[in-house]
């Protein structure tokens, strides 16, 4: 009965979404208060019903109710509890349900906290949210219904979840990524609402930036988590493969980052309005494209759970309606919007425009590289676009952006002084060159490109704090006064510094790992010792053990440094009984910011021998720690009082606060 209530609730949610997408929009056009008031009620109702629906499916998963087709196909009674629950979205139907749940939560949030929005804007925004909801709820009910049942004598055991997905990563990565993707639907809804109304209120910018920022934080976390998961689970030791599904998440991230920066200009200086609207449409379009690439089955990957042509066509339809419709509306209505403030060629506004150009061009380049093979194969040809393309095209573009990045925060609004900014950065340049020379000495003369990369990483890392340094004026006013001056700064200034520094950290990790990692691939039999980096690894033999739903062959490895035993590692291979699928579990030991990474390959020629792949990866964790730091920067910025949605407070409170930041 619970399952059927969940199914019925999903249908009611669709109907509420239908009402939400029609009535308030008509109401806004006719200035009809009653009809506009339907929007928040319907959005909250939709959230309630989708939550019931999600709860019902969770219940079916947790109780291993194999009369539900979706549970039978993706669960197993012996799975640990966490994977029973996270397995809900480890498949196509369930993950779409999570998608609409998050969409409904965002819509509910706008409804609940949007009391200070102009009424027509709120009605239109929720109306557009309703359109997106209708599209995806219809998609679920018509092509991907997770509530279908097995009527006759349902099986007593399920087919189990793909073993690669039986990992805590599944509980975290998809929800974060979806929070990011779906978060951009809010900026999209605001953009479309502004185009519908033909004007942009001051409230518009106040709302768009925090939502874009929140979505960006989630997307950053989702991508970083996905990258780390692939790194430790797939056993290749790589952190980014330029795989189309990875690109599918990187593109909205780049567009979203651009949106974040242009929304800043718009909020503070009322400029770049039209551009911001276009970016809001693009960021969500790229999110939808990502969903299409991953969900339609045009790509073969661990993310593409099932390929069903009708689904692909349906999502393609959704894609065309929203992207095509959004861009057409933009082309038609953008000219009616008022242009904003003016600024000089050298100014913080211009610096942010530069950032936008680099980011959107990067996104375009990746879009081309991702779509070209698909389009070619659709037309019968075959092109393969791999890492070399992305590295040679994306690398320099992004690198150039990083080089100019520290200048931005040092320039004043409206008209900046480039020479003054450059003077402040001389010291940073010196430190970056010094860092690069030190690493050259440490690595006994490493490759030149690696030295340049490390220099750029330190340039970004140190340069991010140049603004704080100049604001504090430690050298002139002393340490104590300097800190007092710092504490008076708004949090968003710290957010900028920390966010940019995070990017520098990630870059440092990437350069160090790709240039200086040591790799050993060798066949070992018990008793053998192999060297990797500064370590000697001894293979002591295999142990067999059994997990709840798998059997495992673990290799006992002792790692020594200069003959002294430092730690043990147990890389293993698991065989999952239900699907008869093997997985590799890498043995990973973090030392400092670096990691020793060992995986088992196939059995070797001799008895008991096995092929072992070992890497010592210097500073590899910085790649993901950098992302965490970026997120922290985003959160600092989000916590800035001025950004708190609709909380204009008297000025006396601002000066009093501050020591906390």
């Amino acid at each position: 009965m619970i399952i059927e209530i969940g199914h019925f609730s999903l249908i009611l949610a669709l109907i509420l979404a239908l009402v939400q997408s029609v009535v308030p929009v008509i109401g806004a056009a006719r200035r009809d208060n009653a009809m506009m008031a339907v929007a928040p009620a319907a959005a909250l109702g939709q959230m309630l019903f989708i939550t019931i629906s999600f709860g019902a499916l969770s219940h079916a998963y947790l109780t291993s109710d194999f009369s539900v087709l979706n549970v039978f196909e993706n669960s197993h009674s012996l799975k640990p509890l966490l994977y029973k629950f996270s397995g809900l979205w480890g498949n196509h139907e369930g993950s779409m349900l999570l998608w609409v749940l998050i969409l409904a939560i965002f819509g509910g949030a706008v409804a609940a906290f949007g009391g200070n929005l102009p009424k027509t804007l709120k009605a239109n925004v929720l109306g557009v949210q309703g359109w997106v909801s209708v599209a995806f709820l219809l998609f679920i009910l018509l092509t991907s219904n997770p509530f279908l049942r097995i009527a006759d004598n349902p099986p007593l055991e399920g087919r189990d979840l793909n073993p690669v997905l039986q990992d805590p990563g599944l509980a975290i990565h998809p929800p974060l990524l979806y929070l990011g993707y779906v978060g951009f639907s809010i900026s999209f809804a605001f953009a479309i609402a502004a185009l519908l109304e033909g004007r942009i209120d001051a409230a518009w910018a106040r709302w768009v930036r925090p939502w874009a920022l929140a979505a960006w934080i989630f997307l950053t976390a989702g991508i970083a988590m996905g990258s780390y998961w692939a790194y430790y689970e797939l056993g290749w030791g790589g952190f980014w493969f330029w795989d189309p599904v990875e690109n599918a998440s990187l593109m909205p991230w780049l567009a979203g980052t651009a949106l974040l920066h242009s929304a800043l200009v718009m909020e503070k200086r009322n400029a770049l309005k039209i551009w911001t609207i276009l970016l809001a449409i693009l960021a969500f379009s790229l999110s939808l494209l990502g969903t299409f690439l991953v969900r339609s089955g045009v790509l073969t990957s661990v993310h593409a759970f099932a390929s069903d042509p009708t689904r692909g066509v349906f999502i393609l339809g959704i894609l065309c309606v929203f992207i095509g419709g959004g861009l057409s509306l933009f082309a038609w209505r953008a000219s009616t919007l008022q242009q904003g403030g003016l600024f000089a060629p050298v100014s913080r506004e211009s610096a942010l425009v530069m950032n936008n150009i680099f980011l959107t061009v990067s996104a375009a380049v990746i879009l081309f590289g991702t779509m070209a093979p698909l389009l070619a194969s659709a037309m019968g040809g075959a092109i393969s676009v791999g890492a070399p393309y992305f590295n040679t095209v994306f690398g320099p573009l992004f690198g150039a952006m990083l080089v100019i990045m520290p200048f931005g925060p040092l320039l004043a609004w409206k008209r900046g002084d480039l020479r003054a900014a450059a003077q402040r950065l001389w010291a940073v340049l010196g430190l970056a060159i010094l860092a690069s020379l030190v690493s050259w000495w440490l690595t006994h003369g490493g490759p030149v490109m690696a030295m340049v990369g490390i220099g750029v990483a330190f340039w970004v890392l140190i340069g991010s704090f140049a603004e704080l340094w100049t604001r504090a004026r430690f050298l002139e006013v002393g340490v104590a006064t300097g800190f007092r001056r710092l504490s008076g700064l708004p949090r968003s200034v710290f957010g900028t510094a920390v966010g940019h520094a995070g990017l520098g950290l990630s870059l440092l990790g990437i350069v160090a790992t790709t240039s200086f990692q040591s790799e050993t691939i060798t066949e070992m039999k018990p008793g053998d010792t192999a060297k990797v980096g500064g370590y000697e690894v001894t293979f002591n033999g295999m142990t067999n053990q059994a997990g709840p739903n798998y059997t495992e062959m673990a290799a006992n490895m002792t790692v020594r440094e200069n003959g002294v035993e430092v730690f043990d590692l147990k890389p293993s291979k698991r065989m999952f009984t239900a699907r008869q699928m093997p997985t590799t579990e890498a043995g990973i030991k973090t030392h400092g910011f670096s990691q020793l990474y060992i995986t088992l390959g196939d059995p070797g020629q001799g008895a008991d021998s096995v092929v072992v792949r070992m890497w010592d990866k210097p500073l590899v964790t910085l790649i993901w720690l950098g992302a965490l730091v970026m997120m922290a920067g985003g959160m600092l910025s989000l916590s800035d009082r001025r950004l708190r949605v609709g909380a204009p407070k008297p000025a006396r409170l601002t000066t009093a606060a501050g020591s906390s930041s």
Binding site: M1, I3, E4, I5, H7, F8, S9, I11, L12, L14, I15, L16, V19, V23, I26, G27, R31, D32, N33, A34, M35, A37, V38, A41, A42, L44, G45, F49, A60, T63, D65, F66, S67, S77, L78, L117, P118, T120, L141, N145, R149, A151, N153, P154, P155, L156, D201, A202, A203, G341, A412, W413, K414, R415, G488, R642, G646, P648, A651, T654
Partner: protein
């Protein structure tokens, strides 16, 4: 009924969610601009803060201040752009809602939903009494129990007969091997293990099977089934003399009216022919007939009981023979449908040779050659296999 009551309540809630704001709010809006004014005021204060921190130059700040002030004035003096009283659409909207919500919801649900199906959580299903005498269901329950308790030999023993009857010989063999590994196996189980292995290999007695069968025959000489397969294994490996001795031993230990004697005598003839001995070589005497069946226990308590006999008869040599023949026929059918399978053809030829159906083996060889004639390399392997099996 409860389900539909809940549906009705949920539907009513959904309709009310839409109707309440439609009924309660004032229809005509006056668009107040207070919100916008507050934001512009806040922007002015922010500008002052930026100025005091040197984030913006004095002239630029002045320009921005003028710009914001201009917008502030515009917002403050804007007349409320209330649209002059048009007929409100709230009533049509409300009516449409009342119509749409229940009808669309029920309509869609009846299309996609399964209102008759209850929830079936696994734990409740396993605890509850089996609702029907579905054997597969029972087997699945035991299997599920064994997944978590793989050391329960009795559980495996329950499954073996089901597996054998369902023709799931590989499952039967693995269940029996587990019983043996647990040290709980009787000679019955070992005998069944040998039989399952043979059945699983389309009648061919593999090395593993032969080892088990030999063990059983040595432990208990009065096991006709085990001895039969043991002898057959010797015959298949080319030890015709050994096979003859075993067949003779089997006849000697069988009652005169044992149902398997016919098959054994047939096999014995094949062995004699292979040894180039006369077909009427004298066979040993059998035991006296077991009739009447009331004698449930052999007098000395050692011989097979009537129950044993019946069990063996349940899987009589005829049945066994027809079962094997059936499996071979299946293979032949499969190859007829899908002839590009050199391994399958070799398997079929071997089966026919083992069953002594030489003509069928030759026919199969011919068909295989026809089917695979495009592939010289495969043809060569096929010829080699045929030669080795003695097909031509």
């Amino acid at each position: 009924m409860l389900l539909w009551t809940i549906f009705a309540l949920l539907t009513a809630a959904a309709a009310l969610i839409i109707l309440l704001p439609l009924m309660r709010s004032r229809a005509s809006a006056n668009m107040d601009r207070a919100q916008e004014v507050a934001i512009y005021k806040d922007q002015l204060q922010e500008l002052d803060r930026d100025r005091s921190r040197g984030l913006i130059g004095e002239t630029e700040a002045e320009a921005a201040r003028t710009e914001i002030a201009r917008r502030l004035l515009a917002a403050g003096t804007a007349t409320d752009d209330t649209v002059p009283a048009r007929r409100s659409l709230r009533l049509p909207a409300a009516v449409a809602t009342v119509m749409l919500v229940p009808f669309a919801a029920i309509g869609l649900y009846l299309t996609f939903g399964s209102p008759d199906l209850p929830d079936l959580p696994l734990s409740a299903r396993l605890q509850g009494q089996p609702t029907d005498t579905n054997v597969n269901d029972m087997v699945a329950r035991v299997e599920k129990h064994l997944e978590t308790n793989p050391d329960d030999a009795e559980g495996w023993k329950v499954l073996v007969p089901f597996y054998m009857r369902a023709g799931r010989f590989d499952d039967a063999a693995s269940a029996l091997s587990k019983i043996i590994a647990l040290g709980k196996a009787t000679d019955d189980d070992r005998e069944a293990y040998g039989e399952a292995l043979v059945a699983n290999n389309d009648g061919i007695v593999t090395k593993d099977a032969q080892a088990v069968l030999e063990q059983v025959v040595k432990a208990d000489p009065d096991r006709p089934k085990a001895r039969y397969y043991y002898a057959e294994g010797l015959r298949q490996s080319g030890d015709n003399a050994g096979a003859l001795a075993q067949f003779d031993e089997l006849i000697k230990r069988s009652p005169a009216d044992a149902p398997w004697l016919e098959v054994v005598r047939g096999k014995r003839k094949d062995v004699l022919a292979a040894l180039k001995m006369p077909a009427d070589t004298k066979e040993p005497d059998t035991l006296p007939p077991l009739d009447p069946p009331e004698a449930t226990m052999a007098p000395d308590g050692k011989g097979p009981t009537a129950a044993d006999m019946q069990a063996a008869a349940g899987m009589s040599a005829q049945d066994r023979g027809s079962m094997i023949a059936g499996m071979v026929q299946q293979l032949a059918d499969r190859l007829a449908a899908n002839p590009k399978d050199p391994d399958g053809w070799v398997k079929l030829m071997r089966s026919y040779m083992v069953l002594n159906r030489i003509d069928d083996a030759k026919a199969a060889y011919q068909k295989a050659r026809d089917a695979l004639k495009d592939d010289a390399a495969t043809l060569q392997t096929l010829d080699a296999a045929a030669k080795e099996l003695g097909v031509n």
